[in-house]
Amino acid sequence: MTAETGTEAATPLWEVFIRARNGLAHRHVGSVHAADATMALSAARDVYTRRGEGLSIWVVPSGAITASDPADRDMLFEPAGSKIYRHPTFYEVPDEVGNM
């Protein structure tokens, strides 16, 4: 068994995104292994939507996704950190003016 599985080619990994309801964005739900996109879609349907959880499915080869490294998050998001004037509460408007 070991020898057999050891020589067998690995089946590619796909990330699965599902739109749960009309008007919502596709959301990552998990992953599946499949040889090609068509099989990945049908595997995603079987694994992640057995109870009507979705209106539409995206599958994306895991290797095709470019991601930031969370270890770099301080450096990556630093530019926004000091810009508190981007938030509405930075500005003072008298109460009399009402909601703004």
Binding site: M1, T5, A10, V29, G30, D46, R50, S62, G63
Partner: protein, 375 residues
């Protein structure tokens, strides 16, 4: 390298690369460790679907008091109820414990399809057949969510499957008992899935994010399993004398093995405090077992069935059902391979995997051909 996609029921994110042009990230040292399976080869003690109770081994491998600054920060995050995500630094022993626990859990779901699959073609009605088929499909789905969660820890699906097929990995001892009658399908849903739910609800708050999220999905689906099982028991118990006897016989055979699913008594699992400290495990074996007995005894009474335990009595003072001694020798025997169905279960998985090899190879060959035509 593992980077990031882990929002859902356990995304693997196994092959995701870092942005080109970005400076190469400094890899934490443990990412360069030897392949996981070398560490996993040693014998383990699986409990429940999941409770990995390899904590003993973990403790031997890494003294728990190895507290460098990274460990301290890690523990502080856990203490603050922060979730650990795949790219976060984690102690190697935490990673190993999780891989082992999650993969044992996944294997249990997959092997758990076999005892019930045994009755699909012989279900007594179309309604029961459709429900059982859906339940067995769910078990397969649960196995896949869990494999995906395990894969976020830098281990491949192929490695995990190989560990199951060559007997290195364990799965829950409960699936090494046979399903002799239709009533066993009722008893499994009611008791085995009931015990699994009891165990899995605290796991929804497990410190490892992908595992906790997979457990939330699974718990939502398990409730159907338990209810359909109880309904089968109810139908039998309201039926003819022979049907009631069949239900009682199933309870007699499943009761003790189900209590064993929660694992050895707390006094005999001295190292599980590490899993507790890491918040992988949140409730002790004995506490979960007691909770299960307290919930289940009234359900058995409602059915008019007798729990096969002459020592069972209600203790008004504590408000708990006190039960008799569990035969731990049997538990150890079944775990060690001496159960009625150990060989049959493993042989069935090996056969399924071998017979599917040409399908996997054909699918990959077809995909390669399609890509070549496009190129």
């Amino acid at each position: 390298m593992r980077l990031g996609l882990t929002s859902g029921g356990g995304g693997a994110g196994g092959g995701i690369g870092v942005a080109q042009g970005m400076p190469p990230p400094v890899l934490p040292q443990q990412w360069n460790r030897p392949p996981f399976h070398l560490a996993a080869r040693r014998a383990i003690f699986p409990v429940m679907y999941t409770q990995a109770l390899n904590a003993a081994e973990t403790a031997r491998a890494e003294p728990a008091d190895a507290q460098g600054p990274l460990e301290q920060r890690f523990q502080a995050r856990i203490d603050a109820e922060a979730r650990i995500e795949p790219n976060d630094w984690m102690p190697p022993a935490y990673r190993r414990t999780l891989v082992r626990q999650i993969s044992q859990h996944a294997h249990s779901e997959i092997v758990g399809m076999l005892p019930e699959g045994n009755w699909i073609t012989r279900a007594p009605s179309l309604r029961r057949k459709a429900a059982l088929l859906a339940k067995v499909q769910d078990e397969g789905g649960h196995g896949l969510y869990l494999y995906a969660a395990a894969e976020t820890l830098d281990v491949t699906r192929e490695e995990l499957v190989e560990q199951l097929l060559d007997g290195r990995a364990k799965y829950s001892s409960i699936f090494n008992y046979p399903t002799l009658t239709w009533a066993d399908i009722g008893a499994i849903g009611w008791l085995v899935d009931g015990a699994a739910i009891m165990n899995q609800i605290p796991l929804c708050r497990c410190s490892y994010g992908p595992y906790a999220r997979a457990m939330i999905r699974i718990c939502k689906e398990e409730s159907f399993h338990q209810r359909q099982g109880y309904e089968i028991m109810m139908t039998l118990c309201q039926g003819a004398a022979e049907q009631r006897a069949m239900a009682q016989d199933a309870l007699d055979r499943w009761w003790w093995p189900v209590l064993m699913m929660f694992g050895p008594p707390d006094a005999q699992s001295p190292h599980s405090d590490i899993s507790m400290r890491w918040k992988i495990k949140r409730v002790s074996n004995d506490a979960l077992r007691q909770k299960f007995v307290d919930a289940t005894v009234p359900q058995a009474q409602y059915l008019g069935l007798t729990i096969p335990d002459p020592d069972l009595r209600f203790d008004a003072e504590s408000g708990h059902w006190v039960f008799g001694a569990i035969d731990w020798a049997e538990f150890r025997r079944v775990l060690a391979g001496g159960g009625k169905c150990n060989r049959e279960r493993l042989a069935a998985r090996q056969r399924a995997h071998a017979e599917g090899a040409w399908v996997r190879a054909a699918a990959l060959a077809h995909a390669a051909k399609q890509r070549a035509q496009v190129a």
